[in-house]
């Protein structure tokens, strides 16, 4: 029982991180109808920027404080992501307005390749570490209830709390601010939003910046766990089935989808894996999403796709 719960918690924590990346996909899709394949590359790019700035900034400015370095690096990386959002909007999206979904998808694939190359050219291609002072040692809880207690990774716990806080923040942003209202309006109907004076271009820059922010947070958490390297952009491929499962347009869907996939993956690896020879984590999420698609193509909370002649 203790082992099962441990696996379950591990899955929930991993799922929270998948949700964080998936959130980036959903935000962009909701507000511009673009399926942003480059989210993974953005996570890598943001994490690389964060890791390297945290190393460079103290050197340039000549101080020695971990907290200050991290704060400045975060600000610098965020500024970089905003610039990136602006450049992407200017050079790419604004010229592809009214194109089909597939075209936009392929364009983001191109962006993702470009970012992979650019990030590694600018910041180097070794393995970097991000140290934001997350607790590393695991914690033991409920020792009285179970034999041996439950081993929980504090790092995962902190990550999950940060992720939850981020989601709450984004929900507030979407619901309570004027910009959030404008974003929702654009998501509902581009033309109607434009006709009442909401500037589409600026909205897209904001959305991509917000997605960049989500990517940065995801990048920092994953990066401090695994180290920042190229494989980080592959982690994001895991977030694709999460979005599919949850529905492309739903923020709660991304969260729930992430949790389901995270838990399903860990449990299936432990309990089903031995029958298949192990390593089924690689495809479990995809096959689950695929099976789900056949039953309910719009995902858990997605909007129903209706075709009319």
């Amino acid at each position: 029982m203790g082992f099962f719960l441990e696996t379950l918690f591990g899955g929930l924590m991993a799922g929270m991180l998948y949700s964080l990346i998936a959130l980036g996909f959903v935000l962009i899709y909701k507000a511009s109808g673009v399926f942003n394949f480059a989210q993974g590359a953005m996570v890598l790019f943001a994490a690389l920027a964060m890791a390297r700035f945290a190393e460079w900034i103290p050197k340039w400015l000549g101080f020695d404080s971990l907290i200050l370095a991290n704060v400045l690096a975060f600000a610098a990386a965020m500024a970089l992501m905003v610039v990136l959002a602006w450049v992407i909007e200017r050079l790419c999206l604004s010229r592809l307005v009214n194109q089909e979904g597939i075209t936009l998808l392929m364009a983001t694939l191109g962006i993702s390749y470009f970012l992979d190359g650019l990030g590694q050219t600018m910041f180097g291609n070794d393995i970097y570490s991000i140290n934001v002072g997350m607790p590393k040692d695991p914690a033991m809880i409920l020792e009285s209830t179970f034999e041996g207690g439950l081993l929980l990774s504090k790092e995962d716990l902190v990550a999950a709390i940060i992720a939850a806080a981020l989601v709450a923040l984004l929900a507030l942003f979407f619901q309570k601010t004027a910009t959030g209202r404008a974003l929702r309006a654009v998501a509902d109907d581009h033309q109607a939003a434009q006709s009442i004076g909401i500037p589409l271009n600026r909205i897209w820059v904001i959305v991509w910046s917000v997605a960049g922010f989500a990517a940065l947070v995801a990048g920092i958490i994953w990066g401090s766990k695994l180290g920042v390297q190229f494989s980080l952009s592959l982690v994001a491929l895991k977030a694709l089935p999460v979005v599919i499962l949850g529905g492309l347009t739903s923020v709660p869907g991304a969260i729930l989808g992430g949790l389901i996939i995270g838990v399903g993956e860990k449990l299936s690896e432990i309990y089903l894996g031995p029958f298949f020879g192990g390593g089924i984590e690689i495809w479990f999420a995809y096959v689950l999403a695929l099976a789900f698609l056949l039953v309910r193509p719009q995902g858990l909370f997605g909007e129903k796709i209706i075709d009319r002649v």
Partner: protein, 354 residues
């Protein structure tokens, strides 16, 4: 002046329907084939064959297959590598497990296995579209990556996880030297390119294009979406599967699942986009471009005395590919093939634009 169709009248349906209705095109293709089959084998170096021409031909074949699916039928697929892998491993198993299996038969059987898997993963396309389908085909990619790595039966329980073939021959002729490999690939590619070209001009090809342009309207005029989509998946994955066999058997000789990773899928999709969606010739342009660009990037800075590290080069290639994809999608969505046909159009009027 030279490229003009004045006076070339078509007096029969057969003449009207031929692939190259203009005499100059027929001559050009004839010359091109003659060069490819006769001149190049006489003068080409081993490096040219092994590093450039053979990969070019095989990837062009795979891009051709993918183009049928993405360019002609509008079903985006990110799982091309998976179907190549299915073809390669299936053919390997046929070759190893059945005594005296001829290479060509193994190749076609491998293609058929890829067809079955392709249709299987194409079934979701009947319910889901575009973005969702891309993820569904990614599922194929991840699943085959895992299956060929973990399930020992596929690799004949090889301990290292990599498999190899040796002593290939067709009708008793050995395919060992670079020239023989090149000629074999060239022959296969020619046959398939001709077949594909005719297929996309036929009724089924028109159905694919109708589905691509607007599936609801196509269904209204009596095209069965299920039949059209699944045949596109079948034909596409057959060609891709055969390309996978060639890639594994002829180009690599010994391979492991990483040879057909997701990067291969993306690479092929890029070939199709850069070369030209919905064009047979585009597959060749795209493949040539993507094979040659990294080699050029490797060489050119050295000629100018700027040494670049391998890592920098590979990042540069990434950036250039990415930028080119976006560039082509914005400026010329029909890719290099479209530029080529614009060039031909201009040539028809030259030197009197009007």
């Amino acid at each position: 002046m030279l490229y003009r169709e004045n006076g070339q009248f078509k007096t029969s349906y057969a003449a009207d329907q031929q692939i190259f209705p203009i005499l100059q095109d027929r001559v050009a293709i004839g010359v091109l084939l003659a060069i490819a089959f006769v001149v190049v084998p006489m003068f080409g170096s081993d490096y040219l064959f092994r590093a450039i021409l053979i990969p070019f031909l095989i990837l062009a074949l795979a891009a051709l297959g993918l183009n049928i699916l993405v360019g002609y039928c509008g079903q985006i697929s990110l799982g091309t590598g998976a179907f190549m892998a299915v073809g390669a491993y299936a053919a390997y198993n046929f070759l190893v497990r059945i005594d005296g299996m001829p290479l060509i038969a193994a190749m076609l059987l491998g293609g058929l296995c890829a067809t079955v898997i392709g249709v299987l993963f194409g079934i979701p396309s009947l319910r889901i579209k575009g973005l969702y389908l891309a993820v569904a085909t990614l599922a194929a990619q991840f699943f085959t990556d895992w299956a060929f790595l973990r399930i020992g039966w596929f690799t004949n329980n090889s301990t290292s996880g990599s498999v190899s073939v040796a002593g290939l021959n067709v009708f008793g002729l050995p395919i060992e030297s670079a020239v023989a490999k090149y000629l074999f690939c060239l022959a296969v590619v020619c046959v398939f390119a001709l077949g594909a070209k005719n297929l996309v001009r036929s009724a089924i090809g028109r159905q694919w294009m109708a589905i691509r342009d607007m599936d609801v309207a196509a269904a209204v005029i009596g095209i069965r979406p299920m039949y059209a989509k699944l045949t596109a998946f079948a034909v596409s994955s057959f060609i891709v599967g055969v390309a996978g066999v060639l890639w594994a058997f002829v180009h690599l000789g010994a391979w492991e699942p990483a040879a057909f990773s997701i990067d291969r899928s993306f690479q092929l999709l890029f070939m199709v986009i850069i070369g030209g969606l919905g064009s047979i010739m585009g597959a060749f342009f795209g493949a040539a471009f993507i094979i040659v660009l990294p080699i050029l990037l490797d060489q050119v800075p050295q000629w100018f005395g700027i040494p670049l590290s391998t890592a920098t080069t590979s990042h540069l290639v990434h950036m250039i590919f990415g930028a080119l994809i976006v560039f082509f999608l914005i400026v010329e969505p029909h890719g290099l093939a479209r530029l080529w046909s614009i060039g031909k159009q201009k040539l028809r009027l030259w030197p009197f634009p009007h």
